[in-house]
Symmetry: C2
Subunit: 354 residues, 2 copies
Amino acid sequence: MKIKEFQKYLKKKRISSAIFFNKGLDVIEPNFYYFARSNFPFCLVIPSAKKPALFVSKMDAEAARKAVKGMRLVKVGKHFFPHLKKYAKGTKIGIDKHSLTLAMFSRLKKELKKKRFVDVSAACLELRAIKTKEEINIIKKGCRISDEILKSCFRNFRSFRTEQDVTSFLETETIKRGCELAFKPVVASGKHSSMPHHIPQDKKLGRGFCVIDFGIKYKSYCTDTTRTICIGKLSKTEIKLYNLLLNAQQNTIKSIKPGMRCSETWETCTKNLGEYKKAMIHGLGHGVGVEIHELPNLKQASKDALKEGMVFTIEPGIYFEGRFGIRIEDTILMAKKPVLLTKIPKHLLIMRER
Amino acid sequence: MKIKEFQKYLKKKRISSAIFFNKGLDVIEPNFYYFARSNFPFCLVIPSAKKPALFVSKMDAEAARKAVKGMRLVKVGKHFFPHLKKYAKGTKIGIDKHSLTLAMFSRLKKELKKKRFVDVSAACLELRAIKTKEEINIIKKGCRISDEILKSCFRNFRSFRTEQDVTSFLETETIKRGCELAFKPVVASGKHSSMPHHIPQDKKLGRGFCVIDFGIKYKSYCTDTTRTICIGKLSKTEIKLYNLLLNAQQNTIKSIKPGMRCSETWETCTKNLGEYKKAMIHGLGHGVGVEIHELPNLKQASKDALKEGMVFTIEPGIYFEGRFGIRIEDTILMAKKPVLLTKIPKHLLIMRER
């Protein structure tokens, strides 16, 4: 995506080319993937003009020739750096300091002598934060698929005995639809719900709130939804808190518009939470794209602002250690107005205890 | 694992403590995980004496308190570095240069002034290469589960129409057993079999060889197996090549013993392949553990030697671009003799064409 825009940036900054690395097929380095549209290991060089070059090993050459479009393919044997020197000309070279390891950087400095290295990671993150039409369509479709899976999960909920049963269901339904998980689903029932990143266990689902945080990758783009349902009966206070949080989430979504500061979205939400503001022990949300957490960063100390074309979550949560927690999260597109991409209902779902 | 051994190393090298980072719950930094036995973001400090300290965010504190044993837990708010300074005393600090990003290293240098940073990654890899009894038992169990899944895949093979059907089956069976994939399975049928890392497609399974490369993670430890089966009829040459490769793999396994150089295992195997040596476009194998590729490295240029307690793959493959490929891979424990951990049969399985 946006290779031309990135090349424009390189030209403006007089950077002759930028180098990205991808360690292995099962590791997705987000900036590498964003530009290369593939995750063949191991190197991508984007010059400020002309076609990017993708360096692949002998064993991946045939597959890369079939899959990769619009790039030069360089098949590399034992000796990678002589090839790299040919493609990374000029003296000012862009690197991604948030993904480049110290070991690789030392090697680069040694091999590409007399070069100056400058960080281009911030520019990549900014490009990625504003989604193209194509990306928006992919994420919309991903959110529809994720909605379907969650709906079917709630329909089948009575057949689940443990938290792991729920996770297994979500995961297998994701695979059946040719997608991948964006992250390991959180299924936190009963007292576990107070832990935002609880790892689902092979024990009977607990009574009370059950937080389900689930996201898929469709065509390599992430979605992110959380619903909190209830197993058995809740106390009046618990119901009041659920509605308070739901209200805060919905009011925050309604309030957002292009140009708004992310710190302001946080303020809006916590104001809505009143005395329970302190129970919100995490940020309000984050951009989603090829990575599950990218720009914008919706937290109190954020310097980001909302812009048209951004896709991000709004996910307030309140947690009471040792007791329970509630989180409600949607994936939102910032158009002229906010567009809800995850559309699964948010009224409190009550499941009978098994 | 082996924290005491690592601390001994630190003492010997007069390193006061080593610092490891883990970016997020869904990213497993192998050295971080190996010592911490958990993947809570985001920092682990191992001093040369006393208990290691795990730094977690407010939102993970409750979960970490329940899950983490034998470490100090440090709950970190907005300000991480003042805490780190308290724990990372002394002047010589160990870092993992193969996982530490340039951005994090710059920050460390700025915050921990007057410290000397030395790389400890090689020492970690060496410790990890020799498995403890506990690790060996976990990997053995993992291999048994992976064998079961592959057997069941072959039993059900007639119900699969596409490569993706096979992958889906392998993936869902893995999840059902409470395990994870170690990597995305390769299912490469027909002409695709010549691409070692082929990405399974939603098209009818091709005729001829079908390479299935599959590994799971059981209790965070990887397994790795490849079988090449046949769909429909093969030519006499193809059958001859299969048996040549199988023979090479089995002879190589028989030949290995503690103390043998890894480069020698490569020589043994390629000698067995005779004129087809050049068709082997990748290494002979790799260690497996918390990472799918770790030490030892069984390739021609390797300086490693086999030692008791190592667990690694032996996976020769021969590939003919545009035509077909064959790979046979097992996970092996180097005890006094080689012990085959993946026990699924290797005679050529012939499936009827659909």
